[in-house]
């Protein structure tokens, strides 16, 4: 559902079944009746202005490395639109993801170190995949991390897309909160109270009108203003780096951007710079009545935005003197985070009156219970026996996204060894990935095509990787096409014989001089021509016959 105008559909029964199955695997207790709620989201990612969400089960647990991890809640939600860009006044979203069923699993607050967080996320991911109904690929499994430390605050980190980042992001957040506590303690030592930070803004337009700052100049050209506020006793603290590239000043800037719709801020610890020179800095400080230890922040924008931006800065500075604010932060690809929005409370939730509650009958639970998918370890064991895979390969396959594809392929491509398929789907694809080949573009049906071609003898198994590489760059293509384009089609017997004859003829002397002993060197020469297009055993066979003919 993409339009708010569309009347809501009933709860998708398949999605509900998957969520219930997931709940059972997490040993959580399904609700007797599911109530769909509206969770207000007004950043534009939901066309309705709210996200539909429902508690499916409560009070589960899983065991990770011998430690019991409580699963507080499993919810079924509608995914939001994906932001693809924004300008100062608008945000652009893609709606293709909007309304896709999303399962949210919340663990209890028991994870004590960043590494454990990563392991728990990995374990939950494994269970999700066990349902075989969960979409794979970057962004389809996301981790929201709630991090709090002693004396700190509950901070939600959103958008951690890769499992490897979980422990890193948690680590950075702990570091950030420790850094903020240090700032608070220093402010206390400097005797700064929140009430000392006043929201008294001074118009510094005339001071900065002579600066070379492009931002200031373009703002002033559009009739905007430059406002500044004094931050008592903040000197040196604004540039304090909490985590890589995130300073206290950055935190203030993000707040100002969010609340004031401004492009950014200038703070005294980073000046002179950006076309604002020391004489401007001095004058601004003077106009604000700054003392030796005071800092300041400047915002250039239209009057309303500038005021809102500075209000947000003052608010953040006051918090710095008192506590760590609860907030929602967005993860960067390196695991550091930036301020996203304030943390919403229960108040943003109200009933979705257009979707009737769903009773979960015993019959439904029994049916799901009987069809409960197996867990990763179990699956790996089964693969070992059924397809004679090594334990390592079996585990890798279960952990990969390709288990359903593997089963499809092996069922169809009868004459290809399962261990070969498994190796390609795990180790080989990973090595292609390392070479920056976008293997995630290759669809399951394309994988199947590639192996089917090998099975039917239309291409050699040595060609599979080249075919997959080609498909990764040609997502709309077919394996057949790849084989054609890369000239990997198996040679017919007569084609092969022709090539062998040519090679033999152009190396007459070698053959004459060495007789049957020339086989090894001739083999190399022929294979150089037909690699990937002929079975080496067959080449040997034909070449031997040919050489014998020559000798005769």
């Amino acid at each position: 559902m993409e339009l708010d105008e569309e009347p809501p559909h009933l709860l998708n029964p398949e999605a509900l079944d998957v969520a219930l199955t997931m709940s059972m695997l997490l040993h959580a207790k399904p609700m007797d009746e599911i109530h769909v709620m509206r969770k207000v989201v007004i950043d534009g990612s939901n066309t309705t202005g709210f996200q539909r969400t429902a508690v499916i089960a409560l009070n589960g647990s899983i065991t990770v490395d011998g430690v019991e991890v409580p699963i507080e809640q499993v919810t079924l939600e509608e995914d939001a639109g994906r932001k693809t860009g924004d300008t100062k006044t608008s945000a652009v979203f893609r709606l293709d993801r909007l309304g896709v069923p999303l399962i949210e699993v919340s663990t209890g607050p028991i994870i004590h170190d960043p590494e454990q967080a990563g392991k728990v996320a990995f374990a939950i991911g494994g269970i999700l995949r066990a349902t075989k109904k969960v979409k794979r690929g970057l962004g389809s499994i996301r981790q929201d991390l709630n991090v709090s430390i002693k004396d700190g605050a509950l901070v939600e980190v959103k958008g951690v897309q890769e499992l490897e980042l979980v422990s890193k992001a948690v680590g950075y957040e702990v570091q950030r909160q420790l850094g903020l506590l240090e700032v608070r303690d220093e402010l206390r030592q400097r005797n700064v109270k929140a009430s000392d930070i006043k929201d008294e803004f001074v118009d510094v337009t005339s001071i900065l009108s002579g600066s070379e700052s492009k931002i200031v100049q373009s703002t002033l050209n559009q009739g905007g203003v430059a406002l500044a506020v004094k931050l008592s006793s903040f000197k040196g603290l604004l540039k304090r780096e909490l985590i890589p590239n995130i300073r206290l000043g950055t935190e203030m800037a993000k707040r100002a951007v969010f609340w004031g719709r401004v492009g950014g801020i200038f703070h005294s610890d980073e000046l002179p710079a950006y076309g604002i020179d020391s004489s401007h800095v001095e004058e601004v400080a003077k106009s604000l009545g700054c003392g030796e230890l005071d800092g300041f922040v400047i915002v250039a924008d239209n009057l309303d935005n500038a005021k809102d931006g500075l209000r947000a800065v003052v608010e953040r500075a006051r918090e710095a003197a008192e506590r760590i604010p609860e907030e929602t932060r967005a993860a960067n690809p390196d695991g550091t985070t930036v301020y996203l929005r304030p943390r919403p409370g229960a108040a943003r939730m109200y009933p979705e009156t257009d979707v009737p509650p769903v009773q979960i009958g015993e019959g439904r639970l029994e049916r799901l219970w009987e069809n409960l998918p197996r867990m990763p370890e179990e699956l790996a064991k089964e693969l070992e026996t059924k397809h004679s895979l090594s334990p390592k390969l079996a585990t890798q396959l279960v952990d990969s996204d390709y288990l359903p594809a593997f089963e499809e392929i092996v069922a169809g491509a009868k004459s290809v060894a399962p261990s070969f398929v498994a190796t390609i789907l795990t180790e080989s694809l990973r090595s292609l990935q390392r070479e920056q080949v976008p293997v995630e573009n290759v669809r399951e049906d394309q994988l199947k095509q590639a192996f089917d071609l090998v099975s039917k003898g239309e291409t050699a198994k040595e060609s599979v990787l080249d075919v997959l590489r080609w498909l990764a760059f040609h997502p709309d293509g077919a394996a057949e096409e790849a084989v054609e384009m890369l000239n990997l089609r198996m040679l017919t017997k007569s084609d092969l014989e022709n090539i062998i004859s040519k090679v033999v003829e152009s190396n007459q002397t070698l053959v004459q001089d060495n007789g049957a002993k020339a086989l090894g060197r001739m083999m190399n020469l022929v294979m150089g021509e037909v690699r990937g297009r002929a079975d080496p055993r067959r080449v040997t066979e034909l070449l031997r016959t040919r050489l014998e003919q020559v000798k005769a």
């Binding site: 207790k29 109530h35 109200y350 509650p357 009773q359």
Partner: protein, 444 residues
């Protein structure tokens, strides 16, 4: 304890909740037979839900339903707050603004949500409206009344009469514009009815509704109401219109002529379209600018309002379709029909299998009128033989009048005259801009 203290609960659950002293809003703890514990605020249950589950709102805001059969113990562990609605202080009334009367007939155009329990309370008084839609107080001096509260599908001729009379009263009281809030399903029928019932209007009367209820962040209720009030207060026009969204954006509110408008979508906010005509006016929500279409009747305080608010339900609207059973016409006739509007195909046709029934009815002095189910366009029965046959039988084509307006007009006409020829004459005379002989390119 009043029943509403345990709203929506019945039977065994109601008994157990009463016994434990629980009320909606109480914090209760349920212990299941298997030992699970659920805590939360007791939430009212929808009257359409089954009687076997108790609904709790957990601390994190989610609602869950717990089956009574699985519940071993039910105890009240705290008194929650009742749903309450704190009113934001109303902005001061600015004197000197135009006086606009808002008449509410149902459909909660504005409401407040108690986010803790999810309860919705309609905002109906002027003060309520002003607090929910504060923009209004800078546009007009609003005076709001509830006339009745009815789903629009239940609204009929008696309600039209009541609305017309109320409008007349408000005009007599000095209103400079009237806004009627109304459910959207039959909004356009009411708009047509009022257009005929209120002739010689000195001021504009705008009907307004909402396609997305006001408990949604994306609701169009407040923006439509703002547009309607602004147009009622300031637009230099004097007729009945419908004020709704132009498109999907909260940008332009259009006023459509009451006799030319139709709901054309089940759920989109731009469901209302002017058919075979241009909208009357537009209001820009961002700039507050009003643009008027040429030829719209202007305000004139000295103009005398004529109220003719009677409607007679012995008028029928019959839609033709392939496989039509002619008994539908016969039974309308035997039920005492005083006129029948046909919604024919294309340019205004029905199968010749209907001819006998039509002929019989016409013989009994029951006039037939032709409109088209294509919605847009004009009927023309001189193009094909079937049309010519129908004309020869005595069926009267209604030009570019839409079927919905035609049936409302017929109800109004037959309430005023018994003569078939007078009925025909009135149906063919444009009384409230419901038909024209000229089709404009941009209105097609």
């Amino acid at each position: 304890m009043s029943v509403s203290a345990l709203e929506g609960y019945h039977g065994e659950i109601l008994r157990r909740l009463r016994k434990s002293g629980a009320k909606v809003g109480s914090v209760i703890r349920l212990t299941s037979k298997s030992g699970e514990v659920f805590e939360g605020i007791l939430i009212p249950r929808s009257e359409y839900s089954d009687p076997r589950h108790i609904v709790l709102k957990m601390r994190n805001g989610y609602n869950i339903g717990i089956s009574l059969e699985r519940t071993e113990k039910l105890e009240v562990i705290g008194e929650g707050e009742k749903p309450h609605f704190t009113k934001p202080s109303s902005p001061p009334i600015r004197v000197g603004l135009p006086r606009v009367a808002i008449i509410s007939t149902g459909g909660t155009i504005a409401s407040r949500v108690d986010y803790r329990t999810g309860a919705v309370q309609p905002a109906l008084t002027a003060a309520d409206l002003a607090s929910v839609v504060p923009e209004l107080s800078s546009i007009a001096e609003v005076d709001a009344h509830i006339l009745f509260s009815e789903y629009s599908e239940n609204i009929g001729p008696m309600h039209w009469k009541g609305m017309a009379e109320e409008v007349a009263k408000r005009i007599a009281d000095g209103a400079e514009g009237v806004v009627i809030s109304h459910g959207t399903d039959t909004l356009h029928y009411t708009a047509a009815a009022l257009s005929f019932a209120l002739s010689g209007l000195p001021i504009p009367v705008l009907l307004v509704g909402a396609q997305r209820s006001s408990d949604r962040p994306s609701s169009d209720a407040a923006s439509n109401l703002t547009g309607a009030v602004a147009l009622a207060a300031r637009a230099d026009m004097a007729l009945v219109g419908v004020a709704m969204h132009q498109d999907l954006s909260d940008h332009i509110i259009l006023a459509h002529r009451g006799t030319r408008v139709r709901k054309c979508h089940t759920s989109r906010r731009d469901a209302f379209k002017s058919i075979n005509a241009n909208p009357l006016a537009s209001y820009d929500l961002k700039t507050g600018q009003i643009e008027l279409t040429n030829g719209v009747p202007k305000r004139d305080k000295s103009r005398k309002l004529a109220l003719r608010s009677r409607f007679d339900q012995h008028a029928y609207l019959i839609k033709f379709y392939p496989g039509f059973n002619t008994s539908m016409i016969d039974s309308a006739v035997s039920a005492g029909a005083r006129g029948i509007v046909l919604e024919g195909t294309g340019l205004g046709h029905v199968s010749r299998q209907l001819f006998d029934s039509v002929k019989k009815a016409l013989k009994r002095e029951i006039p037939f009128f032709m409109t088209s189910q294509t919605i847009w366009g004009r009927v023309d029965m001189n193009v094909y033989n079937t049309g010519r046959d129908l004309l020869n039988l005595g069926v009267t084509p209604l030009e570019d009048m839409i079927a919905e307006t035609a049936i409302v007009k017929l109800m109004w006409v037959v309430a005023q005259t018994k003569s078939a020829s007078k009925i025909r004459e009135m149906m063919l005379r444009s009384i409230a801009g419901e038909m024209t002989s000229r089709t404009l390119v941009e209105a097609s």
